[in-house]
């Protein structure tokens, strides 16, 4: 009995966004990468081709973080003391992008400074040819204070600057617009809030193809289902033609997963959790893959083994 496969026809598609700029384009990256462009739900190759695979970014810091899991400290070891070296090591594991997260304080315990932030950014740009994302420490005033000079010092690189939130987006958007960068717009796990922030940023005159959406997610076991459904709904809205939800989505499963006790620590936890390292990698990988299958375009990870496994999953998922 011949069956007609039900195919969805959508009026909208995900916007194509290009990260990074080569010398010819006014930057210094060895290549640029494009994301987005899908006209179907993730990996429904029987409906439409998937023009660009999802990408894996590795998160590094401008100085050795004190609160990261020993498993991460072990695997990155010495490189953590030097953002340039760390970026190089990250590139060597096969990452597609580097995300540099600026710290609240310097190694001396004093507040981070614009000069230090610019220096760290430049070190990373010098060490790798991959496109770069730079995020502030997540405190309104400090974010603005650090990101503006970073944006100015890297004019034309098409970095992604973050994070814009509904109460603090103007300064970052303005400097990204003035210096040819992109921004990440993060809203707390709500379809409407994600969309609203996109509208606010667009209203400032930022071109839509320079906005990434971070709908926020929880880790496996810590609210992943909310982020999962919000992303599914955003993807559906985008396909239905809602222009303000069509930005590619970036999420941070590495940050979320490594914050959980399951990944972070190996002692004083139930035996039924099994082998620490394998469990931690599974935690990060499962979180990332579940989100990729709901529509994440960039996943930011922390452990090289997860990067490898997620890459392998993406490869399989991209097979037609």
């Amino acid at each position: 009995m011949p069956i007609e496969i039900p195919k969805d026809k959508w009026p909208g598609k995900i916007r194509t966004v290009t990260l990074g700029a080569t010398a010819a384009e006014g930057g210094t990256r060895s290549k640029t990468v494009a994301i987005g462009g899908e006209a179907s739900l993730p990996f429904m190759h029987f409906e439409n081709p998937t023009p660009n695979p999802p990408l894996v970014a590795i998160e590094i810091k401008d100085r050795k973080p004190e609160d990261w899991s020993p498993l991460l400290a072990e695997v990155w070891s010495e490189a953590m003391n030097d953002p340039g070296a760390w970026a190089k090591a990250a590139e060597a594991t096969g990452a597609d992008l580097i995300l540099l997260a600026l710290s609240v304080t310097g190694a001396d315990g004093k507040p981070n400074t614009p000069d230090a932030a610019v220096a760290a950014t430049k070190a990373v740009l010098g060490a790798t040819g991959l496109p770069l994302l730079v995020y502030g420490p997540g405190q309104v005033e400090l974010d603005n204070e650090l990101l503006v000079p970073v944006a100015e010092a890297t004019r034309g690189e098409r970095l992604v600057l973050g994070i814009c939130e509904d109460k603090n987006y103007r300064t970052i958007v303005a400097t990204a617009m003035a210096n040819g960068h992109l921004v990440t717009a993060r809203a707390p796990m709500d379809v409407n809030l994600s969309k609203q922030l996109n509208i606010l940023i667009s209203d400032m005159g930022m071109p839509a193809d320079r906005i990434l959406m971070d709908p926020t997610t929880g880790a496996l076991g810590y609210g992943i289902e909310y982020g999962y459904s919000v992303m599914e709904r955003l993807r559906l809205a985008a396909l239905q033609g809602d222009a303000m939800t069509q930005g590619p989505m970036i999420v941070t499963p590495g940050f979320e997963a490594w914050k959980t006790k399951e990944s972070k620590v190996g002692e004083g936890v139930p035996e039924s959790w099994g082998d620490w390292k394998e469990r931690a990698i599974n935690w990060e990988t499962v979180t990332a893959v579940a989100l990729i299958e709901t529509g994440a375009t960039i996943v930011v990870l922390r452990h090289p083994e997860s990067v490898k496994r997620v890459h392998r999953a993406i490869e399989e998922l991209m097979a037609v």
């Binding site: 103007r170 379809v191 509208i199 606010l200 303000m244």
Partner: protein, 642 residues
């Protein structure tokens, strides 16, 4: 241990003293000393209106909300949140006076007597002239039986009940009137076998055209409206309104329920609202030069909490999940039972409601607006402290309520106020200079901004870019009007030099948030209601808006902020107080009264908190005008122009 607390009262210049045990609250001491102090939030420590200054002695502050560090250093404390642990001397600053006369008192609504109204057929109240045979040694029938016989033979009323209180008076009335009397009866039901109830017996016969008085009353959370009606002609002869004096114990229903649940709180709430009604009755009667006992019937409506509090029925279960009332359809009572000072035997009819948050004010609103008879899908919206809505037609009716908060009544907004003299009622902002101009009720100096003023301010600020779509104040604009404040950015509507009290009138980020929440709750309420029954807002033929809220608002502005849906203006109809009008119809005509019961019976209540649909709709409406701009094409066009 006992402590002596002395008060110096600014308003009167007098002092008062109370002795209270350790651990008492300052409000309790005030009460003990007989000093009146307003507690609009019901003693929850939220509003800061009960602020006093401790000039001698120490007090323990549980909460210092709304007090600055300097205030505390100066001894200021919230009376409802401060614990007495020693002797004190306390200064009581002047209390904010609730304006005596309301704006709605100025403008009487035009009310047409329903067509076909006929006292003889529409009423269950009957007034009959009786001529009794005086008793003598041969006819030793008692007075009551004599009256009952006359009613049977002269008015064809088979059985009549009479209360003890009335019984005590009839002998005197009959004799003084030399057995020529007028009886006023309530036939109770249409059933001719059921006993009638004697309401009043008046000396002498009464001319057919002499008015017979009754009242239609709407007990609003904020305002009580009182209509005095002549049942003979059906005409409304007097309309007055007054603030519900329960306001002093809480501005919203939840605060009142909480207060009423405290010891003695229920009794206090009951007597407060009865006092308000009594003073309205007294005023209305005085103006018409009649006496209050001439009022022999009342039809009452109000939200379920108001009716519970009026009847002295515990209301606590209304507030708590699963939100059940003690009664939706109260029995008929007499005025005496709740202390209403009209005729003590007067029939008091509290019309039926549907659920905890959809009360008789809404069923009465449906009656008077005719949603239940409409061929087309109609949306009825009543906005007060809560937003209640009804969607339907002659075949079906669904209803829901959402907690909009009192922002549109001026509460929860720093410079908000009710629509009365001194309130800014409309604002315009220049798109180039960002300078505002405004209109003040009464034309004097502004004191604050009322609901309609807030709506137009929000719309103007948004269209000119003073606010972004999320309601953030754009403090980077080149004007002194925008500035940073401790609550985020703010916009100055009137400089101190222009205002009554010399302080700037502003709207802050927090105020905007409260307004956004209120408008989002209302918009989400009716969109979800429509969604649940599978009707699109475009199918809504008429949008009827009740409540005093609707009377002064500018539809265009209300659409621009996304409070009302973007539909052709001719579909909106503002009906004013539909609740009291419904009470009036039910008062006049037993068929209308039956219709209210039928409306209450067939209305389907939808609980919005049952799932996430409402929350989603609410979040998408927390934006100016809405996250989905395609729902507001005219606003999009207006934005493109600016």
């Amino acid at each position: 241990m006992e402590h002596t607390v002395s008060f110096q009262i600014a308003e009167t210049g007098k002092s008062a003293t109370a002795k209270v045990p350790t651990g008492s609250l300052l409000v309790e001491a005030l009460h003990e000393a007989g000093v009146e102090i307003g507690q609009p939030c019901g003693g929850q420590g939220r509003c800061g209106r009960c602020i006093v200054q401790v000039t001698e002695g120490n007090i323990r502050r549980r909460s210092a909300l709304r007090l600055s560090v300097e205030d505390i250093a100066d001894g200021y404390a919230l009376a409802c949140q401060s614990v007495i642990e020693g002797d004190l001397l306390v200064f009581v600053p002047p209390q904010e006076k609730i304006a005596r006369r309301m704006t709605s008192d100025r403008v009487a609504t035009e009310v047409k007597v329903p067509e076909n109204y006929d006292f003889r057929w529409s009423q269950r109240i009957r007034r009959v002239n009786l001529s009794l045979n005086p008793p003598n040694m041969d006819d030793q029938t008692d007075d009551l039986a004599r009256l009952q016989t006359a009613l049977r033979t002269q008015a064809n009323i088979g059985q009549t009940d009479c209360s003890l209180a009335l019984l005590r008076r009839i002998g005197v009335i009959l004799r003084e009137a030399e057995w020529q009397v007028t009886a006023i009866l309530d036939m109770a039901s249409g059933d001719s076998d059921a006993p009638a109830r004697l309401i009043d017996l008046r000396p002498g016969p009464t001319d057919e055209d002499t008015p017979l008085w009754a009242a239609a009353i709407d007990i609003g959370t904020t305002t009580v409206t009182f209509w005095l009606v002549d049942l003979v002609t059906g005409q409304v002869k007097m309309q007055i309104a007054e603030y519900n004096s329960q306001i002093a114990r809480g501005e919203d229903v939840v605060s009142r329920i909480v207060y009423a649940s405290k010891e003695g709180g229920g009794e206090e709430m009951q007597s407060r609202v009865v006092d308000t009604i009594n003073s309205l009755a007294e005023t209305a009667c005085k103006r018409l030069k009649i006496s209050a006992p001439e009022v022999i019937k009342a039809a009452l409506v109000g939200n379920s909490t108001m009716i519970h509090l009026l009847l002295g029925v515990p209301a606590a279960s209304i507030r708590l999940s699963p939100f059940i009332t003690a009664v939706n359809h109260p029995p008929l009572i007499t005025a005496r039972e709740i202390g209403l000072r009209i005729n003590p035997e007067a029939t008091v009819d509290c019309l039926p409601g549907v659920a905890s948050y959809v009360g008789a004010d809404i069923t009465a609103g449906v009656l008077s607006s005719g949603v239940d008879l409409s061929d087309n899908i109609t949306l009825f919206l009543d906005v007060g402290t809560n937003g209640e809505m009804v969607l339907g037609n002659r075949d079906w009716l669904v209803t829901c309520a959402c907690s909009a908060g009192p922002a549109f009544e001026g509460a929860g907004v720093v410079d908000g106020m009710r629509a009365m003299e001194g309130a800014i009622e409309e604002v315009w902002i220049n798109g180039e200079t960002f300078e505002p101009s405004y209109r003040v009720i009464g034309g004097g100096k502004p004191r604050g901004i009322c609901g309609s003023g807030l709506i137009s301010l929000l719309a103007e600020a948004f269209l000119t870019g003073v606010l972004d779509k999320a309601g953030n104040v754009n403090t980077s604009l080149k004007t002194r009007r925008v500035r940073e404040s401790e609550h985020g950015g703010e916009y100055v509507v009137a400089w101190g030099a222009e205002t009554e009290d010399g302080d700037d009138i502003v709207i802050s980020r927090v105020d905007v948030d409260n307004l956004l929440r209120a408008k989002a709750a209302i918009y989400a309420g009716y969109t979800v209601l429509a969604d649940q029954v599978g009707v699109s807002l475009a199918d809504v033929h008429k949008m009827l808006i009740g409540g005093s809220f609707g009377k002064y608002i500018n539809v265009e502005k209300a659409v621009q902020i996304g409070l009302l849906p973007d539909m052709p203006w001719e579909r909106f109809e503002f009906l004013g107080n539909t609740a009291v009008r419904g009470a009036y119809y039910a008062l006049l005509d037993w068929q209308a009264r039956d219709r209210v019961a039928e409306i209450a019976r067939r209305m389907t209540y939808i609980e919005l908190s049952a799932d996430n649909t409402f929350y989603d709709a609410f979040m998408s409406a927390m934006f100016l005008p809405h996250t989905d701009m395609s729902k507001f094409p005219t606003v999009e066009a207006a934005l493109r122009k600016t």
